[in-house]
Symmetry: C2
Subunit: 203 residues, 2 copies
Amino acid sequence: MSAQELHIISTGKQHLEQFVEIASEIQDDVDFFHLREKQMNASELYRAVTLLQDQKIPLSKLIVNDRADVAWTKQAFGVHLAFHSLDAAVVRRAFPGLGVGCSVHSMEEAKVACQQGADYAMYGHIFETDSKRGLPPKGVEELQAITSNVSLPIIAIGGITPSNCQSVLEAGVRGIAVMSGILEAKNPMEAVKEYSKSLGKER
Amino acid sequence: MSAQELHIISTGKQHLEQFVEIASEIQDDVDFFHLREKQMNASELYRAVTLLQDQKIPLSKLIVNDRADVAWTKQAFGVHLAFHSLDAAVVRRAFPGLGVGCSVHSMEEAKVACQQGADYAMYGHIFETDSKRGLPPKGVEELQAITSNVSLPIIAIGGITPSNCQSVLEAGVRGIAVMSGILEAKNPMEAVKEYSKSLGKER
């Protein structure tokens, strides 16, 4: 089995410069960085991508949340769409070559993302996590059902740690997404190495 | 002298359905409708353009604020950029054929918009207006200076009424933009006709 993908999602709370610094440190072990900064306007997002580029993080590893225009003008890998974003099918048609991912919360939504031509779906939250406090986690059984029934790469997110990672991988995901587990770790470099080992990226 | 353009800017406060209804009524006398709805997400903006289309308002009359991606996917006439938006030059390059306008507040900004390849600049506010209460208006003299020194079509905005319109037109603008003066008029149809007369659209 080849190694699964590690996606890092920005927290929306860190200073941009801090995120860029950590990203630069850990980038060798990371497949994709998602800029998920809802408070940022288009001008700020554009600048954020520029800062990441300046740190030699390849555009092919960058995914911009919601703003297809920023992703497109920067020639980033892709755009990640939420319920409040443009439809995946619309983006697919208008932005040929741009990667398209969708946040999904059910089998039904994963099937829609697949029909709309998305390149991947991000599903969660799998386990309990502080960022979704009070909302029941989806668990790995439903995750397994989705990867079995929807022919779309699934990235799992939410409360995934190096120690519970194995059950997620066994559910057939393309990869996992981590936010605070790495970006807010005391030592992000050590944290990413632990995740990498769990993902089979290091032997 | 041929008639100048009349741009209508949505207020950001009206119900979308009400705006669409008024737009449908007055569209024969209007050159461009700007969707300036900062509270709307991409999905809502996309739907707003669809509703306007359903009322037979041509895409060639529609300009979307800030979201180049929505304008592009809908093949609207263009996108209107503010200071928090992507740069005009960036949008111009990445979205060939999409109209690009910029909000400007000084001669300097108008020159930058021109250098960046914008199709027009919107300048204001010219007169006192409730939506810019407490901020000193720019006046027609500075407007005249800009139209004389910057080779970019200028659309004037802010407190323009059928009665003060003449001095604005004489300052050499390509057109005027109106928000509440028409959209919040008791009778928008009558109001637009008065503006049209002042613009030389009706004889």
